[in-house]
Symmetry: C2
Subunit: 711 residues, 2 copies
């Protein structure tokens, strides 16, 4: 449970509020400059140009009297009022000195724009400024950042050329360069943001603190992030799980291809790549993952603007068949369910279209549809409780004006006659459509240039909504014999090795996992003794690294019922091998209980360095790595997690009785719960592989258990 405990500790009160950093009332710019090409000039100018009250901005520079019409102070200490935020733009070597002055001045927060720290190897310098900040109780953002843009307070404390449009999306960026690119891009697209925070080296304040802050910020309705890596996976999950209950998080996690998976020895490990871990973690804590930066903001927009749907019934409203077909394809791709339009609703919709229109879904108003037809049909759809979300499409025609149609749609929405429903739009066409798209988006109907983006954005809203309403389930607990297991594990740890097959089987057994009993015999007497212990019927199998197909050379005998049969069989298998594979090295004869073959599944665990134990379920057998029919969840698991992860695989269909009788799924769930418990009880266990686990109509049994320990 060590991981869990750690993450609880970090959730301390110490980092509670970032109010002075993000919503400061007074700002000092340390390193402000008169030279227009210097960042110290740009930042000061941007703060003033952004609209923040000039009287609350204090340039600091010992060499000049005033900059841009503001009185300049030799040191932050000379500023006559309390300073909420000091923006630091002096060279790296001077940062510690001005930080100390900030400490003396009791500045609440600093944003260190200056670079030249950890990113260029200056680890010591970075450590020093963090130490100064911690001692003085100063929040430190950066170093090596572009700065902060805060639209509610009109603060552009950054070298981004201008403030983004005012909006409800907070954007946290690990990359400073991208922050500028993306903010100017959102301006072009007229996508509004509440804040932009560049976190740079995140020496102190990191993405997790900011997520916490924005979760409580009234100006922010959705939190978006561009990240290349997360520092503390388990804490991230814990915070994200809590935050997504009240506010959506959308993440563009780049660097999928970056990591070349280290040589990992277990099956489960080789299947659980780093990026998969991110995927699973995001899924489990309701974080919506974006595939590119346009989708990051598409999803952010949808999640910040759209009300929750009341159900899964989506209707497409279009003026053209082609656009409708594209949206239909996208709905299938993104998992949205198109409603079958009931005949009474169809009758009402018929009013708004010519004879050759269609009241099937997509509802096709045809190219004749003018603003009043869109208005009327949208009103009809909003009035009908069976309709839960609407995708509005417009394809530009020679006779209609997209802006008038957009205005009609917005009017219909804003009249508020009916319950608000999530609506997205795609307007296909030129400049007129671009204008209409911006109008719709501004008034809460996120609109896009192609149907696929509209559908994907609505689907992001649906994913989040489904996550929120999904029951979180009860944590599964297994009372394993922890003490006994500990003895076995610690012995192996002392000897610096993995568990032997029989130790692994024993540990599994101690956690209620049914295991095929087996031991290796060095002599006939040995074999007889083992067979007595594990009980007849047994199987004898010559152990040799040189024999792949044991049946072919007679190295295996099944279903041995008695002592007499075993004595005979022991001699036989050895003589068979001598005859048929004379060069094979023989390491002994394995005696194991005789079990029927069942459906082969695999259960496993791989401890991810970032997120901790990843529990696996999937198809078993020797081809598991080839077919990759597996699903993962990060421990601790709830019963719902187990249920959902099993349903993600194809082999669940086999267990449910594909072309055969149903198998004992409950028994498999128990094994998953045991593996979950083992992973939580023993931090020392790095990997567990149970493959195959034979599943029968009643019960299941682990045929082979491997347990690797942390080295």
């Amino acid at each position: 449970m060590k991981n869990l405990i750690i993450s609880k500790q970090v959730k301390s009160t110490e980092r509670m509020s970032l109010q002075h950093l993000i919503r400061p009332k007074t700002i000092a710019v340390i390193g402000a400059s008169r030279e227009e090409t210097k960042i110290g000039h740009m930042v000061l100018k941007n703060i003033i140009d952004g609209g923040f009250p000039k009287e609350n901005v204090f340039p600091v520079n010992p060499n000049v009297d005033n900059i841009l019409g503001l009185k300049c102070y030799p040191s932050v200490k000379d500023i006559p009022v309390d300073v909420d935020l000091a923006v630091i733009v002096v060279p790296a070597r001077i940062v510690p000195k001005v930080m100390k002055e900030c400490a003396e001045k009791k500045v609440k927060a600093v944003a260190v724009i200056s670079s030249g720290f950890k990113e260029v190897g200056n680890v010591e310098g970075e450590r020093e400024i963090v130490r100064i900040a911690k001692e003085a109780g100063i929040k430190l953002l950066g170093p090596n950042i572009v700065g902060i843009a805060d639209t509610p307070m009109k603060i552009n404390a950054s070298f981004m050329p201008y403030l983004p449009e005012r909006g409800k999306i907070a954007f946290i960026s690990q990359s400073g360069a991208l922050a500028i690119g993306l903010v100017t891009w959102t301006k072009l697209k007229e996508i509004g943001l509440s804040d932009v925070v560049s976190i740079g080296n995140k020496a102190d304040v990191n993405e997790i603190d900011l997520i916490e802050f924005f979760s409580k910020d009234p100006h922010t309705k959705a939190i978006t992030l561009y990240m290349e890596g997360i520092e503390d996976g388990r804490k991230f999950m814990e915070v994200a799980k809590r935050v997504t209950k009240v506010k959506p998080i959308v993440m563009l996690k780049a660097g999928k291809a970056e990591r070349t998976a280290a040589a990992i020895k277990s099956h489960t490990g080789s299947l659980a790549g780093s990026d998969i871990a991110y995927d699973i973690a995001f899924k489990q804590c309701g974080v919506i993952r974006a595939e590119s930066f346009p989708t990051l903001f598409d999803y952010g927009l949808a999640l910040a603007s759209l009300p929750d749907p009341k159900g899964e019934n989506v209707v497409i409203l279009t003026n053209g068949g082609g656009a409708g077909v594209m949206a239909t394809d996208a709905c299938e791709q993104y998992g949205l369910k198109l409603m079958d339009i009931p005949s009474d609703l169809a009758g009402k919709l018929k009013k708004w279209m010519p004879e050759f229109g269609s009241t099937l879904n997509p509802v096709d108003l045809t190219g004749m549809a003018a603003d009043r037809d869109y208005y009327g049909s949208l009103q009809t759809l909003l009035a009908d409780e069976r309709v839960h979300a609407i995708i509005i499409l417009y394809c530009h025609t020679a006779i209609t004006d997209p802006l008038r149609i957009a205005e009609a749609l917005v009017k219909c929405k804003r009249e508020g006659k009916y319950v608000d429903k999530p609506m997205v739009a795609a307007f296909i066409g030129g400049r007129e459509c671009d204008t209409a798209i911006k109008h719709l988006t501004r008034y809460g109907i996120p609109a896009f240039e192609n149907p696929e983006r509209a559908v994907a954005a609505l689907a992001a809203k649906y994913r989040y909504w489904r996550y929120k309403k999904r029951p979180s389930g009860a944590f599964v607990k297994v009372d394993g014999n922890k003490e006994k297991a500990k003895v076995i594990i610690e012995r192996a740890l002392r000897e610096g090795r993995a568990l032997t097959p029989s130790e692994a089987a024993e540990v599994a057994h101690l956690y209620d996992i049914p295991v095929v009993k087996k031991r290796i015999a060095r002599s006939k007497e040995d074999a007889l003794k083992i067979a007595e212990e594990i009980g007849y019927p047994v199987v004898l199998e010559v152990e040799s690294p040189d024999i792949v197909h044991k049946v072919d050379v007679g190295a295996i005998r099944l279903n041995i019922q008695s002592r007499e049969e075993l004595e005979k069989a022991y001699d036989e298998v050895l003589s068979n091998v001598k005859k048929n594979a004379p060069k094979a090295r023989i390491e002994g004869v394995v005696v194991r209980s005789f079990v029927k073959q069942g459906v082969e599944v695999a259960v496993g665990m791989h401890r991810d360095e970032l997120f901790g134990p990843m529990i696996m379920f999937g198809s078993g057998g020797t081809l598991i790595e080839l077919y990759k029919d597996v699903a993962f969840r990060i421990a601790p698991l709830t019963d719902i997690d187990i249920d959902e992860m099993m349903k993600e695989t194809k082999v669940i269909k086999v267990l449910e009785g594909f072309r055969d009788k149903p198998k004992d799924i409950e028994a498999v769930k128990k094994v998953l719960a045991s593996v979950n418990q083992l992973s939580l009880d023993f931090d020392e266990i790095k990997d567990i592989d149970i493959n195959p686990l034979f599943v029968y109509e009643k019960g299941c049994i682990a045929f082979d258990v491997k347990i690797l320990l942390r080295s």
Copy 2:
């Protein structure tokens, strides 16, 4: 071979040239109108506004003297010069009449914009105008279209509001509504087109004719299509295969979700959905498939502009880590190979970046990079023969001007000092970047707002290039005993049934497919006779629809070596069933040759209604429909097709010796060739399922063969 013969016939000379339709010198507008809201007015006005010489435009309307300053003729027959193209905008019921006048006038081509034909059930009217056109040798486009836009001739014979920008992409649209939306969208994005052709009901001229035309058109470098369905799949493939040798085709095929797969009885059939057939067909004839309309034009742009690469080495040049990471992820996703930068090249690149830049790939010039750094590093990359394609990224900064950088890049490209290489770009930022993107695109460096789109566009070019340079291979031919097989098949057809298992096995055998011999015995004597015929060792198996697990009830006996053993076993299996499954209905006892279990693969064929025989290879066994590890190709197959389709599956790894000795892949290829031949020799065969096909280190054998016939 019937399908093949048909498609050869259609490739007739009759449809050779559409020159008069697409590049007319004189145009009549029949149904021209003075009323501004009428299409008959818009079309005439659009033709004049587009820039086509007025003196070659002839309005036809019996009720007025002139329209828009042009003399108006009562009938097309009254026009004093030859008419290449008549655009018809009169009501549907009058179209036949004016078509007859066009025939008398010897008009070369007509574009029937008028709707009211097949799309509203007026099949007869449509048939009539086609008949008139065919008899008079007139090319007929439409009816029910938006019209034609032709930028080289400056003809906007449509109700699209304006001509698209001049460019090298031809766009063929099945949807008229979308044509307007997309053309205005391309105008906004400054994407140039050579032509836009709306094909509507395609009563005569269809997408295949137009592909043929544009393949020879000097103004067109890439052909793009929006289609919801193709009429003649095999002809499409034949033409597309030929055309893609010289000119790229990009297709947005909508309607994936549309079709609910009809109840299909065979395994292969259920795996080969309609949309998969399109995917396979496109792949086999080198057609690049687009996923949305922006990608349609992204790919069109890349394919129309980029030179062929000389190899697979791609280099990313960026000014920011974040953009580089996103592009790297996308390269992995889209199958582009990032080059390892050799140290000598790294040394040369170092000149263009500060100390903290990176000469790894992505090459990171850092946010300091100005136009001369981009210019210098691009020149270095162009000069190096080991670099084959370049992805240029710019993320907007506070200190650089994207347009100057774009101009530097274009200058470098246009100087032509070095071999031209495919280059794409992504400029992330606001309005300045948008301007830069348009500049780059205009000068042959397709540029986009996000890295993923740039990478996808370059990847489309690579896909096409790889297709073109791939050897087409030799058609595989198997000399089956067609005469004997025909007797068996025709008998079953007469009796209106599928082939029996033994008939299917016999047909397979006649085409050199090794098959487990088996027959059903109704008595012990029968069984003995059959065993003599197929040869010992044999297997006995009670045939019953009520017994799933034959081993469990003792209904099966393996490895019967002799007459004596068989006599005993026959009684045993029947008495076992009587004892263990007393209620089971017994249909006989199957006698089959005893074969070892091998790797289970499946080979099959499903005859798609549109594209003909789809040959399948994949993992075999009872779970084939669950795991869907299958690949398809449309017959006739070449040896390369067979090779490639096998490599698309996961089971190929098992055959290649995953954790075991390699299996006889050549033997499987022969079975695929045989199934290919059967599908070509017998149009009557609808489906073939060979599952499992056991594959051994030497040879393979079909354990079960099913053949369904067309009903």
